[in-house]
């Protein structure tokens, strides 16, 4: 029987990853995350004005924006492709399969285990919950960052990797502030190499100096206003405590294990132990550096748990390849060497059971909780029934839907950087929905110039109330649409 080339298998895994995501993403017209609608609006604004939006007159009733704009320009550039906002993020995010293969192969020089690692990376449940059916910058930023790591490992082997690394050093900070993860990871990498007395090439040291300074410079240029406003506290991105607390409030070890994937976790930990105590190659320390950097950021609550777990999941998948490679090398030395193929099949079946099935379930749940056409049409109707410039109140989760679909001002949304008083606003929104006192609610509605208030089922469930107690007062509230009331007094 003719042996299938690893490249073909890799292509199949890549296609599988794309098809898997497409299957879910195309099952609904809508996006699964509120942020997707912000990204859509920012992209459309570039198409309209030929320049990215710097003042948003709808978000928080009007506020300045600071963000890395490259992703949106890229989407505008690619917008000729049909279904661009659904397909492009899927293709970008699936690139992780190829990158994990490349890094794993570089670390192990073993095609088989690299392919297994690549398959595992295609189905990391937490990665799906982050990027599936979303127009998310992470779909490009995460593969981009890992590709930079790959180039870094190969710097010195070929000039092109140095060039790729330099180009990506410019691109990544223009994509997302997560670019800071690279210098932090490299800092841990240097600490590990120094403590373990592993030589780092001069060229790599030069590249480290270059990319660190570049990331700092670009971040200071892009986020200058945020730095001036918050100082070093900018790293907390002005996220209100009630939200940053939520990142970690539902931590459940079992949930984390399932999110990461059981196989990457087990083999990844073995890989960490091996790479630190026995491997002692500088490329191993680089991946360990990523793990430590993500741990640090999670510990300081500087990144969302899902984002942190995604990085951990991918890094552990890569280190799984190291563990598996050693495992097969060891097996070949034993009497059970002829069982290698059977064991490979068992591992693949285990990947299917322990990674693909949880990913399927996570994806199905995500799609189930996606905003329905009915819910979305409500926002479109609001646009038709309300005058431009009016303010619509809904909880944070609907903030970007109000600005994108209804084209009306919101009171709060999840874009917190430079947002005015997000903490107080979230408290006030909750108070408006839950207070039994109409006078209090009216006072707060006046505070934010609210003209309309949405009270749909999801909102009622969120605040755990039977109904908004005062909304039936016809002197002050008039129902203009089902579940949408105008404030008239």
């Amino acid at each position: 029987m003719k042996k299938i080339s690893p490249k073909v298998i890799l292509a199949i895994i890549f296609m599988l990853a794309i098809l898997f995501q497409l299957f879910f993403a195309l099952s609904t017209k809508n996006f699964s995350s509120d942020e997707s609608y912000l990204n859509l609006r920012l992209t459309e604004k570039i198409s309209e004005n030929k320049f990215h939006l710097r003042y948003d007159n709808l978000s928080y009733g009007g506020r300045d924006l600071v963000y890395s704009p490259l992703f949106y320009y890229l989407l505008v550039f690619l917008s000729l492709i049909p279904l661009v906002f659904k397909i492009i993020p899927i293709i970008f995010s699936s690139l992780i399969v190829l990158i994990v293969y490349l890094i794993s192969f570089e670390l192990t020089k073993d095609e088989k285990v690299s392919l297994i690692a690549s398959l595992m990376s295609a189905f990391i449940p937490v990665y799906f919950s982050l990027i599936l059916n979303s127009l998310s910058i992470f779909s490009l930023a995460i593969p981009g960052l890992f590709f930079m790591l790959y180039c870094f490992i190969r710097i010195g082997q070929h000039k092109k990797y140095l060039e790729y690394f330099v180009v990506l050093s410019f691109i990544l900070p223009l994509l997302h502030p997560i670019a800071f993860l690279l210098p932090i990871s490299i800092m841990f990498y240097l600490i590990l190499t120094i403590t373990e007395d592993v030589e780092v090439s001069k060229l790599k040291k030069e590249v480290i100096i270059f990319s660190t300074f570049l990331t700092i410079l670009l971040s200071f240029i892009i986020y200058k206003r945020a730095f001036l406003t918050y100082g070093f506290n900018v790293i907390w991105q002005n996220v209100p405590p009630q939200i940053s607390g939520n990142y970690f409030s539902n931590i459940n070890i079992l949930k984390i294990i399932i999110s990461l994937g059981i196989l990457p976790l087990i083999y990844g930990i073995v890989g960490v132990v091996y790479s630190y105590f026995k491997g002692k190659k500088d490329s191993f320390f680089l991946i360990n550096g990523v793990l430590l950097a993500v741990f640090l950021l999670l510990l300081l609550r500087l990144i969302n748990l899902n984002i942190g777990l995604t990085f951990l999941g991918i890094a552990l998948t890569i280190l799984s390849a190291v563990a598996l490679a050693k495992y097969f090398v060891y097996l070949r030395k034993t009497k059970f060497y002829n069982l290698e193929n059977y064991l490979t099949v068992i591992i693949i079946v285990a990947v299917i059971i322990l990674s693909i099935i949880p990913s399927y379930i996570a994806s199905k749940n995500l799609i189930k909780s996606t905003i329905t056409d009915e819910e979305l049409s409500l926002f479109k109707e609001i646009k038709g029934k309300t005058p431009p410039g009016s303010t619509v109140l809904a909880p944070l989760e609907f903030g970007h839907l109000i600005t994108y679909q209804a084209k009306r001002k919101n009171v709060a949304d999840s874009n917190f950087l430079l947002a005015p008083n997000p903490e107080q606003r979230l408290l006030d929104i909750a108070e408006i929905y839950t207070t039994p006192f109409e006078v209090k609610a009216l006072e707060l509605l006046e505070k934010y110039d609210v003209d309309y208030i949405i009270t749909n089922k999801k909102i009622i469930e969120k605040y755990n109330i039977a109904e908004v107690s005062y909304i039936k007062d016809e002197k002050c509230f008039k129902e203009i649409l089902p579940e949408v009331f105008e404030v008239i007094c």
């Binding site: 060229l203 300074f213 570049l214 700092i216 200058k224 001036l228 070093f232």
Partner: protein
């Protein structure tokens, strides 16, 4: 003959290179100092401190040297150094030009002189040409340089005097050094102290024989300091520590994080490399390291120390940059990019600071609004956020309720509480009492006050009263700047 002409040619070439370097440095200096005003595209002086000096200078022009300020907090003693306002008043009178123009002109001239002095000082202490050129350029593009010589402030003259004193010390003109250090006492207490520390270290290391001279200088300077400050301490005691709206120290230290007298983060990183580089020649640079560390620690407690630290920082940055340039790089491509990024980083901090300075208040509307109040001949007080206090004094020629000069301010705690009450109270009776207590005739509101500096909501506290009470009349409203006149308001 040929060798003589060759020597002459080489000397000429060397001289002409130096001339070019100095020319570039001078052009950069002129550009950087003018930059805030070029960006601002307005003749209005920037910042609040400038207006404090203008006020004191105009008082000196009117009454000669005075120790009473009738406009701040409704009237108070002047205990701040009078050096700069005195120079400002006298030069303005002598040249017969306005105080505002003098406020721009003198820092500008001192900026150029300071740069030349800094360059030649480095030359005199045998600092290598490349290091002194880079140091001078780093100094010019530093945020502190822009602050010192683009705005009217306490610090630029004493910095120049101290540098000049040190220059004369190198030239062994000790009497001039003594005179100059003694002169710095007119500009505040830290300047003579920093000058004395620098002279002491130099004397101990290079010229121990001059120690008796140092003791004389020390005695003269200390006597002058004591003569100036002991009566103040006896009469008023130590100033109360009163801090409101202060940025955290780490933010005050860096211009990139919003600090006023502040360093560039990039410069600090490069200076760190510079320290590592010079660490290898510890014996030569131990004093630089020690002074750098001492000044850095002191600056955490007293931010203006940074103006002296900035000089050392520029030198260490130059060592850092030169090390990166001279290092044998594996990749020339990465080397060029890295040096480009570092240069851009250093320039970015300076430019960004220049833009911040250019954008700072007051703007045309504030000047117009306050000038309108100034047309009222009645002596009334203007109420506003304390940060607008100096503008009220100088532009409206009216007294303020409060201004940023908290040290030795009369009844500061009470005034602050009353201000807060007036800002946030919707009770007209309560507000009327405060208005009468301070004889407030006008209220100035700026957009920043409505955007979180004071209020967060449209009808919060005083804003509610202004809108709904007939006792307040809007006399000016342009681009968010509002002036309200108070009329017929009595508690009875």
């Amino acid at each position: 003959m040929r060798s003589v002409s060759k020597k002459f040619y080489q000397k000429f070439l060397k001289l002409s290179v130096e001339c070019w370097v100095i020319l570039i440095i001078l052009l950069s200096t002129i550009l950087v100092i003018s930059l805030p005003y070029i960006i601002r595209n307005s003749n209005i002086l920037v910042g609040d401190e400038s207006y404090y000096h203008l006020k004191i200078a105009s008082l000196i022009q009117e009454r000669g040297i005075t120790n009473f300020d009738p406009l701040s907090y409704g009237g108070r003693q002047i205990l701040t150094p009078l050096g700069w306002p005195f120079v400002l008043a006298k030069i303005s009178s002598f040249l017969n030009i306005s105080l505002e123009l003098t406020s721009k002109l003198i820092p500008f001239i001192f900026g150029i002189l300071t740069v030349i002095l800094f360059y030649y000082l480095l030359k005199n202490i045998k600092v290598e040409k490349r290091i002194r050129t880079i140091s001078t350029l780093v100094f010019i593009f530093s945020p502190i340089f822009i602050y010192l010589f683009s705005t009217s402030n306490y610090y630029f003259i004493p910095l120049f005097l101290n540098l000049l004193a040190f220059y004369f010390l190198l030239k062994d003109k000790k009497i001039l050094t003594t005179i100059l250090i003694a002169l710095t006492t007119l500009f505040g207490i830290i300047h003579p102290l920093v000058g004395l520390i620098a002279v002491l270290i130099y004397t101990l290391i290079k010229n121990r024989k001059s120690l008796p001279w140092f003791y004389i200088t020390l005695a003269i300077t200390l006597i002058l300091i004591l003569l100036k400050y002991v009566p103040v301490l006896i009469k008023f005691g130590l100033p109360d520590i009163f801090m409101i709206d202060n940025l955290p120290v780490h933010q005050q230290l860096f211009s990139d994080l919003g600090g006023k007298i502040s360093l560039s983060i990039f410069a600090l990183i490069l200076a760190f490399i510079g320290i590592v580089v010079t660490w290898k020649k510890k014996q030569d640079y131990i004093t630089t390291h020690i002074i750098f560390i001492i000044l850095f620690i002191l600056s955490l407690f007293y931010i203006p120390i940074l103006i002296y630290l900035n000089l050392l920082l520029a030198i260490l940055v130059a060592f850092g940059v030169l090390k990166l340039i001279q290092r044998r790089w594996e990749s020339k491509f990465i080397k060029n990019f890295t040096i480009l990024i570092l240069s851009l980083g250093l320039i970015f901090s300076g430019l960004s600071y220049a833009k911040q300075t250019a954008d700072s208040l007051p703007n045309k509307e504030i000047v117009e609004g306050l000038s309108l109040i100034g047309t009222d001949s009645e002596q009334k007080t203007v109420f506003s956020h304390y940060s607008n206090g100096y503008w009220i004094n100088y532009l409206a020629k009216k007294s303020n309720v409060m201004d940023p000069l908290f040290a030795y301010a009369p009844n500061l705690q009470q005034v602050h509480e009353d201000s807060q009450n007036l800002f946030y109270s919707r009770d007209l009776k309560n507000s009327t009492k405060i208005i009468e207590r301070y004889n407030i005739g006008y209220i100035l509101i700026t957009p920043e006050m409505k955007e979180g500096k004071v209020w967060h909501e449209d009808e919060e506290g005083l804003l509610f009263l202004l809108e709904f009470s007939k006792n307040f009349r809007s006399v000016y409203a342009q681009k968010g700047v509002e002036v309200w006149e108070i009329r017929n308001l009595t508690t009875s």
